[in-house]
Structures are given as C-alpha cells and as structure tokens.
C-alpha cells in the first residue's frame, strides 16, 4: 500500500522549471526523506502534494485521493509544517493550538494523546506568545499544530533548518515515535546526516530526483575506495591532494579530507610518500566507509 503516489509531475514558474518529471511512491507508515539543497524543488513538491499548488502535468495521489479533484478531502487528512514558521506570532502557544484544532473541526482535548509527548515539553510556556519562543520550541509547537487534527500523512518541510544540533536530534526522536503510531511522514532536509534516519530517501537536485533508495543501499552502492586523510597543514593538504596525478575528488570533511583516487587499486604508500615529499607532517591515511554525504556528492559530481 502506498500513502503517496506521484507520477511524472512537472511544475514551472515562468522561465524556471522547478520540478522536472518527478515520480515516486511512499509506503504507508514509512518515514520518507527528501534530501537536497535550497532551490532543489522540495518546497514546490510539498506544496503540490498538500494541494496549495497545482502541477502543470502529471498526477499525484494522497491515500488514493487525486490532488486536483479531491483536494478538499486531502486537506482534512494531511498535516503540513511549512519551512517558514507560519503560526500566529501574536497568539499564545495554547491559542495557536486551539485555533488549528477548531479550523479542522476538532478539539485539543479529543486528540491530545497524539501530541502529548511533544506538547508537554512546551506546555509550561502555554501562555507565551508564539513569536517569543526559541527556535526549538517554535518547531515543537508547529509540529503539534500540524498533528492536532490526527492527519494520516504528515508533510514536514525542512523542520530542522537553522535549529541547533540538540534540538535536531530531539526532533528526529519525536518523528520516530509518530511513525510508530502508524502515520506516514514525508520530510525534507538539507542535512545529509538526517537521511540515515529515514526508511527511504530521495536525493533531489535541480528539480530532478537523482536516486530513491534506502540509506543502507545508497551507501552500499558507493563503488569508490574512499580515504580519510589528515596532516598538520590542512589548507595545503587540499591543494596537494588535488594536484596528485591520480586524484579524483578531494573534499574537506570535518577534521579529515575525504579523498578518492582514479585507480581501482591504490597503493597507500605511494600517496603517503607523495605527501611526505610535499612536507606534510603527521600524515594519517585510512580507508573508510562512505556516509550519505559522500554518496550525495559523488552523484552531484557525475
């Protein structure tokens, strides 16, 4: 069973082709991630699926309902958390929640059990104006408001952008709990590490889907030998690795540089000797397993 079925969707704004013939399916009850940078088309896609925009061509179904002809029914069964904070800043936490419950013809009391885990964390501040909340608290309130009418499919557009690492982690823990209650969740993010927490991931760039896979398979399909390299002069190390005759890709990665070689088999000592000749000290070279970000970059580079 699929909760979301999308076939050949395209959408243009004047000259800009925001989505180019996109197709994918999302299994019921799964957590599906869209990973891609700003401008990739993630927001346009979400707005089409929650019936705020119409595609130019192609079809989209949510729980079997057509997004053009059945848009009213879809609106009552989806929850949507837009990328931009869209609650009423001049209403309190509690007033916002009540407002959204009422709009959907329900009450906070009816569905409180759905949001209890999340909402209880901000309940101590329920009289505070939404505009005065911290980033992490705004995000929890927005998720509560998107959930209060008991949606079957939840769309979260970059819920963790600009949010610190602690709140990001907590947010993903909340998503896991929601998923376990049977809700289908579509989430977009520019953070590659979050991809590893999804059941399936679509890598999206320039309005096209590059790949749809489980995170494990994306990593498993990485064919290159990947090395982490380090020395005392990292700035020079980048340049020197790039000028090495067999160098293929060189990317800084935290305290290491990730390096791939044009050859299938590489002699590690060759590379170490080369770097030593270039006056590098304390050289570390180790073969590593790629993460999602390595994989994404290798797709982008193709």
């Amino acid at each position: 069973m699929y909760a979301v079925e999308v076939e050949n969707i395209s959408k243009s704004f004047e000259k800009v082709e925001a989505l180019k013939n996109i197709s994918f399916n999302v299994k019921s009850g799964s957590l599906f991630g869209f990973i891609g940078p700003d401008g990739a088309g993630k927001t346009t896609l979400f707005r089409i699926l929650v019936t705020l925009l119409k595609q130019n061509t192609g079809t989209a179904k949510i729980q079997g309902l057509n997004n053009i002809t059945d848009y009213k029914k879809i609106r009552s069964i989806v929850g949507y958390m837009p990328g931009k904070f869209s609650l009423y800043q001049d209403l309190s936490v509690e007033e916002n929640l009540r407002f959204f419950a009422t709009v959907f013809g329900t009450t906070v009391e009816n569905n409180y059990h759905l949001i209890k885990d999340i909402y209880s964390q901000i309940e101590p501040f329920k009289t505070r104006l939404a505009g005065k909340l911290s980033g992490g608290m705004k995000q929890k309130l927005a998720l509560s408001c998107a959930m209060i009418h008991k949606p079957e499919v939840l769309f979260l557009d970059e819920p963790t952008t600009g949010v610190d690492a602690v709140s990001r982690k907590e947010f993903w823990e909340m998503l896991k709990v929601l998923k376990n209650s049977g809700i289908t969740i579509l989430v977009s993010t520019p953070y590659m590490d979050e991809a590893e927490l999804c059941d399936e991931v679509a890598l999206i760039q320039d309005g096209k889907i590059l790949k749809i896979e489980t995170p494990q398979n994306i990593i498993g399909a990485y064919e290159k030998n990947l090395y982490a390299v380090k020395s005392t002069n990292m700035f020079k190390l980048i340049a020197d690795l790039r000028s090495f005759e067999f160098s293929e890709s060189v990317f800084p990665f935290g305290q290491f540089i990730h390096y791939t070689d044009k050859r299938d088999q590489i002699n590690e000592n060759d590379l170490i000797n080369y770097l030593a000749q270039k006056d590098h000290k304390n050289i570390v070279l180790q073969k590593i397993t790629p993460n999602i970000e390595d994989c994404f970059m290798s797709y982008l580079n193709k």
Partner: protein, 246 residues
C-alpha cells in the same frame, strides 16, 4: 606558547543584561590573528548577543572588550570599519546586480571609485563571475550568492570577519567550496569568527567555544574537546554539553 601572537579579539568578563535577563554571563576569551574561531551554542544560548557586541552594534553592560585593538564601549565606529560581517539571512541586495552590490559595499566602506574598479575586476576573475557580473542577485544560484556575499563582506580587507551561520541550506559541494575560501583567507592572516549548526564545520575551526545559557561551557581545539568529552566528533561534544541543561 603562543603568547606573542596578537590577540585580535580580547574579551574579559563580558556581561550583557536585558532587564533582569543575563544574556552573556561573564564571558572571557581571546581570538588570535589568523585564527578560525568557531562560536557554537544552542538556539537561545546568547551567541547573537555576543556577536552584536563584538561588531559594535550593541553596548555591553560591563567587562573589558577589545576588537581589532578598539574598545567595544567607546570606539564602536572604529570597530565597524575594521570588521566584515556576513549572515545567511541578510547579505546582498537581490534587486542589484553583482557589480552594483560590490560597488555599493565598497562605497559604504569609503573605498575610492578607482580602487573599487580595480578590486572588482580582480574579484570577478577570482570567482569566475565575469559572465554574471550584470546579473541580478535574485537570479544567481544560492551557492554563488554566498560566495559573493563572503567576498563582499571582506572587500574592504577587514582584520576580522564575522560569519553568522553562513552556509545554511547550500548543497554539500558548495558548502565545502565556501569553507575553502575561508581557509584561504585565514591562511593569509584574516581572523574568522564563525557560528554554525553543522558540527562537521565546527571541526574545521582552529578553536571552538561552546556557549550554554549565556556562559562559555567549553573552549579548546576540536581535538582536545573530543578527547576531554570522550567522543569521536564535535556533535558528541555538543550534545553532551548542551543536553546537560535539561
């Protein structure tokens, strides 16, 4: 020891209060010339307050603060002339072209027209932006805008540049090209003061401070912090420190 190295930022017992709320609670730290200094903390920890003070935009309640040799109480105009600033939210005018933006910022910093022309040409060549020099900013891809925003922020060759979450939302390759630009400037002696939510970017910094509830909870090299908190990466350090408050 690096005692001889110049302290380009010197902060002793910086306190900033808003009414009863203490946003910065006795902060003390130094940043050396040419250093990449990562200034981390959870949302609401007080980072923005500190940055505004160091940029001469807000007055501290008490403490001793010198930026590029100037006093943060009395010499804020001199501070502003000697620093650059870039944030993700505001950087360039979208309805001006690439060269118009450069000329505008150059003019604000009092660089002569002739000099602006010369430096603009050098910059366009370096960024490989000659073909888009008459393109409006809103028509440029986000990654290009950010590279330009950084270049414009340092167009007047400041001693220090403050980068407030400079890389949000860009693709991973562009993000890395951006950091290489930062590396290069630091290598040439510019001091970089940067905030970020990407913990891998924190590891690019020479030293990192982590702010928790208005105080500096940790300050060291990434490697030493990882050793001290017994984690493999900076995310681990950050989670251990920032989680403790709950």
């Amino acid at each position: 020891m690096q005692e001889e190295t110049e302290n380009i930022i010197y902060v002793r017992d910086l306190v900033k209060k808003f009414g009863n709320f203490v946003a910065n609670d006795h902060l003390s730290f130094e940043v050396k010339k040419g250093e990449i200094f990562g200034f981390l903390g959870a949302n609401g920890a007080g980072k923005t307050t500190t940055i505004r003070i160091l940029c001469g935009l807000s007055s501290p309640t008490s403490g001793e603060i010198k930026v590029a040799g100037f006093d943060a109480f009395k010499e804020t105009e001199k501070i502003k002339r000697n620093i650059g600033y870039m944030s993700q939210k505001f950087s360039l005018y979208e309805d001006l072209t690439v060269t118009e933006n450069i000329r505008f910022y150059g003019g604000i910093y009092g660089i002569s027209r002739k000099e602006i022309k010369v430096r603009t040409q050098i910059l366009l060549e370096k960024l490989k932006f000659e073909e888009v020099k008459n393109t409006l900013i809103k028509d440029l891809p986000l990654g290009w805008r950010q590279k330009l925003a950084f270049s414009v922020a340092i167009f007047h060759q400041p001693k220090i540049v403050f980068l407030d979450e400079p890389t949000g939302g860009v693709d991973p390759i562009t993000r890395r090209q951006f950091w290489e630009m930062i590396y290069e400037e630091a290598h040439n002696g510019m001091t970089i003061f940067v905030t970020t939510h990407y913990m891998d970017e924190a590891e690019y910094c020479d030293r990192i401070s982590i702010m928790v509830e208005g105080k500096i909870a940790a300050l060291d090299t990434p490697l030493n912090l990882m050793k001290e908190y017994e984690t493999k990466n900076m995310e681990g350090v950050f989670l251990k420190l920032a989680r403790n408050i709950e």
